[in-house]
């Protein structure tokens, strides 16, 4: 019942495994075989066989193949063509041919192209202008112009601007304040004012602060305690909050958060692309963060 997001599920799972140094325990061949059936004629990739192509799963697929160092499993030229075809007049990106526009898709587009070394394929100035038009009074970013700031969206837009080398366009002090105010007395982070804490924001907020060079604006020790309290003792997975049902999504972002906090049992994670740093280095990708 989860095949409508399976490609992302695989990405969450194997990245979590790689961060813990256990990637070799996954059945690489069957994953690659699965992926061969998910690319469509238009170049886009679906969540699984029989599901329509979308930028969300196209990025997941390229992340997986990057981890496996096996990008040629799919037709990359077509992937680039697909992404290019989804850029709108105003520089924004639709998630698929049905036209839903969201800054998440701007991130998916440039993150995928960066991993493929093809950032030249889109109209960059317009893409930047659109993302900046989604910047708000609190320094954060929303889905579309006028949408309220949300930590997940902030991650996408700050990540986008990092990838395209325009991080100086963010008001880092103002946004950093909004981000560090996401930390609650439990140590956990929420995604918007007055909301409950959730382990996945350990990633969206923390990675954004890391890109802005302001990781020290939250209390790392307290956040670490919160994330660890979300780990389920029976299964080892992580839930959104202590005592809830675990899933792969929260397991990856819990681990990735711990890695950013300097957990030595895990590989260092790249705050922009949520892949191990060693993978990003292997690609020779240079992403300039603020310091």
């Amino acid at each position: 019942m989860t095949e409508y997001l399976r490609m992302s599920g695989v990405y969450w799972g194997i990245t979590a495994m790689d961060l813990t140094g256990s990637l070799t325990r996954m059945d690489r061949e069957s994953i690659l075989e699965f992926m061969r059936h998910c690319q469509h004629d238009c170049g886009g990739i679906g969540a699984s066989q029989g599901h329509d192509p979308h930028l969300l799963y196209t990025l997941s697929a390229v992340q997986i193949l990057t981890l496996f160092d096996n990008l040629n499993t799919i037709d990359l030229e077509k992937v680039v063509e697909y992404i290019r075809s989804l850029q709108q007049k105003d520089g924004s990106f639709a998630g698929d041919k049905w036209g839903e526009v969201d800054t998440r898709f701007s991130f998916c587009a440039v993150a995928t192209l960066a991993l493929l070394g093809r950032l030249d394929a889109i109209r960059m100035e317009e893409a930047v202008t659109f993302v900046l038009s989604c910047m708000n009074f609190d320094g954060g970013f929303g889905c579309r112009p006028g949408s309220e700031s949300h930590a997940g969206q902030v991650y996408c837009c700050v990540g986008f601007l990092t990838i395209v080398g325009r991080l100086h366009l963010v008001n880092a002090d103002l946004l950093g304040w909004w981000l560090c105010e996401r930390q609650l007395p439990s140590g956990g982070l929420n995604g918007r004012p007055e909301k409950l804490p959730d382990v996945c924001y350990s990633w969206w907020v923390l990675a954004s602060l890391r890109m802005l060079g302001r990781l020290c604006w939250i209390d790392s020790k307290r956040l670490r305690t919160f994330i660890l309290a979300c780990q389920d003792e029976e299964t080892g997975g992580f839930a959104d909050r202590p005592g809830d049902v675990v899933d792969l999504f929260h397991t990856l972002f819990g681990l990735a958060g711990l890695s950013l906090l300097g957990e030595t049992q895990l590989k260092p994670v790249n705050p922009v692309l949520c892949l191990p740093e060693e993978t990003i280095q292997r690609l020779g990708l240079h992403l300039q963060l603020l310091n």
Binding site: Y4, L174, E194
Partner: protein, 562 residues
């Protein structure tokens, strides 16, 4: 999986659950397979709509099924237009029920917007009422807020009506952050400040101060109004400007700094240097030799261009097709010259205040201080007192500000790192103002509990910088824009990274005693400062390395480190 509590179950219960799940899965699989085969065979019929509806009712996040429904409707559009309109009108109550169960489904909201646009007789007023009803249930649902803005646009509803809507919401619940956010978008559109892009005209601004103040006096611990208030106190977007032109005869260099980072290599942003009215084919470089965008750019002049002891030279920089320019005169006999904007005149660290606005802000400061008497531990109030004192008179409130910071650190330890950095920023600003008043190029920032360095781009003319006795960990890359720096004192910090002490052409003395430099490689940046005379490194771990001084000499062959 959000907010689903894990429940301990007995083996029996678990078995029942498993069976239930299996049954559900079976039904889902059968329905999915049926939908997939219909789609594959091009059976775009009513049954396909029914099957997909049954699945989507259970899970509206299966994007491909919404896509299939749209394909069917588009297929019918050719010769079954009436039926299409009928289905579209039925789609709305169906979507409404989906959204009631799952109000955060991206797919369902997007499909709803698609339906509204494709239906011939959309009742936008009704749709706006539906948004209102959904927001009444969850006033923070950002999907619904976005949908509302989409409806407003199509229905041609004036911004003033929407502003009134946010006023209503805020008056019933001050902590509706979404409504405050919406206000911040609407106000600059309805009441634009004629001079400052993106800001609100003053008379409306004063009303907004009052609204925010009402809110935080009613509930001083509610963050929404405080965030909004900080925005009201904010500044307009920084305009493009050349802030400084500096020329050095011995170095044969011209330096230009800008109000924000720019990329002069970009053709549209090209800057032209005129030397004595003749355009000079300049090759601009960034001081750190790495960044693409930078506040500061330098250009080497060929030897001989500024020759002649008795001649006056004019250095003129023209930018943005001549709309922005600045020039400086190098008088006969002088070695250097500059023209720099004043931080005080430009109100770099305070606000441009009219009499009305400053009296309102002073009154507000008084009431915030009263509130602070009642709620001495309220961090929002403490921070706002600090912010108000900064926009009104930074130096006049300097010592009070430090007391407030001390209190803030005590009452809100989670954000220690933020408050310390903010205090550092204000200390640097005060230091820069004092230096300007004293008309010197010596910047004193020693023993100010600095955790980070800010505004390095405003220090291009500084010759002596003292940051000793602080809590700095890094001398950041941006420090390389201090192109006039001769003496750097940074003793007694926690510095483990000096990457910004790089390409400083006239730097002679560097004091880095009692820091955390432990490896020779950390000293690498110094090798790019070719006028170094002395480097002091006592009290760093690196000093204990075997043959340290020999290695240091090898590293800095042109220097005589003490």
């Amino acid at each position: 999986m959000h907010g689903r509590v894990k429940v301990k179950t007995s083996a029996e219960q678990a078995e029942t659950k498993r069976k239930e799940r299996e049954k559900k899965l079976k039904l889902y699989q059968v329905a999915s397979a049926a939908a997939a085969s219909k789609r594959a065979n091009g059976e775009f019929d009513k049954e396909a709509l029914e099957i997909t509806q049954n699945i989507l009712e259970q899970n509206p996040d299966i994007a491909s099924l919404w896509n299939f429904r749209r394909e069917i409707l588009l297929f019918w559009e050719k010769d079954r237009q009436e039926e299409v309109q009928e289905v579209l009108s039925l789609e709305l109550p169906f979507l409404e029920s989906c959204l009631r169960v799952n109000p955060k489904s991206y797919g369902a909201w997007h499909h709803r917007a698609w339906v509204l646009v494709h239906a011939k007789h959309t009742d936008w007023a009704k749709e706006l009422r539906l948004c209102g009803a959904f927001l009444q249930k969850d006033e923070r649902n950002f999907h619904c807020w976005d949908h509302r803005r989409f409806v407003v646009q199509h229905a041609g509803i004036p911004d003033t009506d929407e502003l009134e809507y946010t006023s209503q919401l805020i008056s019933t619940n001050f902590s509706n952050y979404s409504a405050w956010h919406y206000r911040s978008c609407l106000l600059p559109r309805i009441y634009p400040d004629p001079e400052q892009k993106g800001r609100v005209a003053e008379d409306q601004l004063l009303k907004e101060y009052e609204l925010a103040q009402n809110a935080f006096f009613t509930d001083p611990s509610d963050q929404s109004a405080w965030f909004y208030h900080r925005w009201l106190l904010g500044r307009a977007e920084i305009e493009d400007a050349i802030t400084c032109v500096y020329v050095s005869k011995p170095l044969q260099t011209v330096l230009v700094s800008f109000s924000k980072p720019v990329n002069l290599r970009n053709e549209e942003d090209e800057a032209v240097l005129f030397v004595d009215s003749r355009p000079f084919p300049s090759k601009w470089q960034v001081p750190d030799k790495r960044s693409t965008f930078s506040h500061v750019w330098v250009c080497k002049l060929p030897p001989g261009l500024l020759e002649g002891e008795t001649l006056q030279h004019c250095l003129h920089v023209s930018w943005k097709d001549g709309r922005l320019k600045k020039e400086c005169l190098l008088y006969p006999g002088s070695k250097e010259s500059w023209c720099q904007d004043s931080a005080t005149d430009q109100k770099l660290f305070s606000l441009e205040l009219s009499i009305e606005k400053s009296s309102v802000l002073r009154a507000e400061m008084d009431s915030c201080r009263q509130l602070l008497d009642l709620e001495p531990e309220n961090k929002w109030c403490l921070l706002t007192c600090i912010l108000l004192s900064r926009v009104l008179d930074p130096l006049g409130h300097a010592s009070k500000t430090l007391t407030w910071f001390k209190k803030l650190l005590a009452v809100d330890p989670l954000r220690t790192g933020y408050y310390k950095d903010l205090r550092s920023k204000y200390q640097v600003e005060d230091g820069l103002l004092c230096m300007e008043y004293a008309e010197t190029r010596v910047l004193h920032l020693a023993r100010k509990e600095l955790t980070s360095l800010f505004h390095l781009d405003l220090m291009v003319l500084v010759t002596h910088l003292d940051v000793s006795g602080n809590c700095l960990h890094v001398l950041p890359l941006a420090m390389s824009c201090l192109q006039c720096l001769q003496v750097l004192h940074a003793d007694d910090n926690e510095i483990e990274d000096i990457e910004g002490v790089r390409n400083l052409p006239v730097l002679q003395d560097v004091c880095l005693k009692n820091n955390r430099l432990a490896h020779l490689s950390q000293l690498q940046p110094l090798t790019s400062c070719c006028r170094l005379v002395s480097v002091e490194l006592g009290g760093n771990l690196v000093e204990n390395l075997p043959d340290f001084y020999t290695h240091l000499h090898e590293l800095l062959t042109h220097t005589r480190p003490v």
